[in-house]
């Protein structure tokens, strides 16, 4: 009986917290999108600029997520399984990108790649970084860097390395150990890390906005279209685009949790 009360109590706390912080706002977004019918939402979503914006967002996400995933796994393995000096510093550096506000990220990229920046000379040789895809990808990689690493590290610690040691003594080399022992063991961490990273890339606004130059039809991401709709007093349209972004994130989660190995599904 006490166990039931405790369980219901915990459930109430969790659901109450989620209701206030998450479910309430999300419901309002849905409501406001369709408040005046499906018209404004559809209008906002079907313009060619918006379609192109979604394409651009997906391209940037498709570049940033794999790169950060590989980094996250490698970083996790290095920090948990290897010995080297300066681990604490590397560890702290991984989270540091989050501490920069988007304005500061934009500023730092201007300082690096702007006309009078450290790499400004690249522009004179025809290599366009700012106000073009490269800077937008760099900014997105920057803001979504930590997530896979942060998921993988606690899980690697938790599972320990007995299985890997066992595999080694049985004659497996590094690569076999990694693909057959380590990776499956951290699959949930990697899955959740990829989901978080993807969601973050989809929703990135501030830093990308600053370095994109906002060239209509050329360097506008979906989130920049949201801003454009907001500026035009089309809140329903702005919310509609946001809902599609949220749906893509949910689809990614569904897809990734659906492809887990067979023994898990039992």
């Amino acid at each position: 009986m006490i166990r039931l009360v405790r369980r219901l109590g915990l459930r109430a706390i969790a659901l109450g917290y989620l209701a206030v912080i998450l479910i309430g706002p999300l419901s309002l977004v849905f409501y406001r999108t369709f408040e005046d019918g499906i018209g404004p939402a559809w209008d906002a979503l079907s313009t060619p600029e918006t379609v192109n914006a979604f394409k651009l967002t997906l391209i940037i996400t498709a570049i940033a997520v794999p790169l950060n995933t590989i980094f996250g796994i490698a970083c996790g393995l290095a920090i948990v399984r290897r010995r080297f000096r300066g681990k604490g510093i590397v560890n702290a550096f991984v989270d540091l990108p989050l501490a920069l506000s988007p304005v500061v990220v934009g500023l730092s990229l201007f300082l690096l790649y702007g006309r009078d920046g450290w790499f400004g000379w690249l522009g004179d040789h025809g290599i366009q970084i700012l106000f073009s895809l490269p800077a937008m990808v760099i900014a997105t990689i920057f803001v979504s860097l930590p997530f896979v690493a942060r998921e993988v590290i606690p899980t690697l610690r938790e599972i320990g390395d007995e299985q890997e040691q066992a595999a080694r003594t049985l004659g497996a080399n590094g690569r076999q150990t990694f693909w057959r022992i380590t990776l499956p063991a951290i699959r949930w961490a990697v899955i959740y890390g990829v989901i978080l990273t993807t969601a973050r890339c989809l929703g990135e606004y501030g830093a990308v906005a600053v370095v994109s130059g906002r060239l209509q039809g050329e360097t506008e991401t979906a989130t920049l279209r949201v801003e454009e709709r907001y500026e035009s007093f089309d809140l329903a349209g702005a919310y509609a685009i946001s809902i599609v972004l949220a749906l893509i994130a949910v689809l990614v989660l569904v897809a990734m949790t659906a492809i887990r190995p067979k023994e898990e599904a039992a």
């Binding site: 201007f110 700012l130 906005a209 060239l215 209509q216 050329e218 907001y230 035009s232 007093f233």
Partner: protein, 331 residues
């Protein structure tokens, strides 16, 4: 028969030549503008493209906050024409060597549209806000963007200060007014649009805004009644061609076009006060002149260069001091 064939060939050649001539003019102009005139330029650009000067000219457009755009252009955003919300932003580009210092010598001193600082009030104006004195009454809650995060919000501050000077108050009395005003300010959003959202969400009794923004919002179905005080500042929006433009001829043609009566009428329909006096007279009903209207160069204000230093220096400026006094006391 041979003569006819010859005539046909000559006609074909002339036709081919003229088509070739038109297509070699494929010029792409980059317009970098602040956020509000997007609708206006969406209408103006096709009209321009039908004129001779705009034939074969296509546009790449970018709209964002004026300060953001200025910084982007400084950092290398390619632009042929900039349309920003206040002159100091263009002057920054002059300092960066991107715009010719003589830009103010264009017609209308480089400006393309005007507006005014107005009071947006609640439905029915329950607190009966009509003039600047009403804003400092106890219990009146004012919403305005923060003048340090929004260059455009500086118009609001100078409107308030200048209105006092217009009434004959001394500089010290006008500064005291600003202090009283900011004690009534309950929200200093980062931009004018954010301030509008705050006001729409129910905060404040009055919002300091720009007439063209209020009119644009109204055209978009927002309920935003506003009052134009008797004394207020004339907001002047500049345009300029970049020194680095590779299509200066077409860019200048575009600027000239923006000041033609047709374009000025289009601006007026979008809520901007025309700089062209004749068109302004045509729209006198929509845009009544205010008896106490003044500009940043009048009333001894000294123009933006002087005002920026005196009022908006982050350490010693009048507004920095006032923010400290208002916030530090209760914060």
């Amino acid at each position: 028969m041979r003569r006819r064939i010859l005539l046909l060939l000559v006609l074909l050649a002339v036709a081919a030549a003229s088509v070739a001539g038109a297509s070699t003019k494929d010029v792409r102009l980059s317009l970098v503008a602040y956020s509000t005139p997007r609708e206006a330029y969406n209408q103006l650009i096709p009209t321009f493209q039908e004129t001779q000067g705009g034939d074969g000219v296509s546009f790449s457009q970018s709209y964002a906050a004026s300060g953001d755009q200025m910084r982007a252009v400084k950092a290398g955003l390619k632009a042929d024409v900039v349309a920003l919300s206040l002159a100091p932003d263009v002057d920054e580009l002059v300092s960066a060597g991107l715009v010719d210092a003589k830009w103010k010598r264009q017609s209308y001193r480089g400006m393309v549209t005007n507006s005014l600082v107005v009071f947006v009030v609640r439905d029915g104006n329950p607190k009966k806000i009509r003039g600047w004195n009403d804003l400092i009454k106890p219990g009146v809650q004012v919403v305005t963007p923060n003048p340090f995060t929004s260059g455009g919000a500086r118009w609001n501050v100078m409107a308030a200060y200048g209105a006092q000077r217009k009434l004959g108050k001394t500089d010290q009395q006008a500064q005291d007014y600003l202090l009283k005003l900011f004690k009534n300010v309950v929200s200093q959003d980062k931009s004018a649009r954010d301030a509008l959202q705050t006001f729409n969400a129910g905060r404040g009794d009055v919002m300091l805004a720009y007439e063209n923004e209020a009119l644009f919002a109204q055209s978009r179905g927002q309920n935003l009644p506003f009052v134009i005080p008797r004394s207020t500042i004339l907001i002047e929006n500049p345009v300029a061609v970049l020194k680095t433009s590779e299509h200066k001829q077409e860019a200048n043609a575009f600027l000239r076009f923006l000041r033609t009566p047709a374009a000025q009428r289009a601006f007026a329909e979008q809520g901007y006060r025309p700089v062209n006096k004749a068109v302004a007279r045509q729209f006198a009903k929509k845009f009544p002149a205010r008896p106490g209207q003044f500009t940043i160069d009048q009333l001894g204000l000294g123009g933006w260069a002087r005002v920026q230093k005196r009022f908006f220096d982050s350490r010693n400026g009048v507004m920095a001091r006032i923010e400290r006094q208002v916030g530090g006391n209760t914060g």
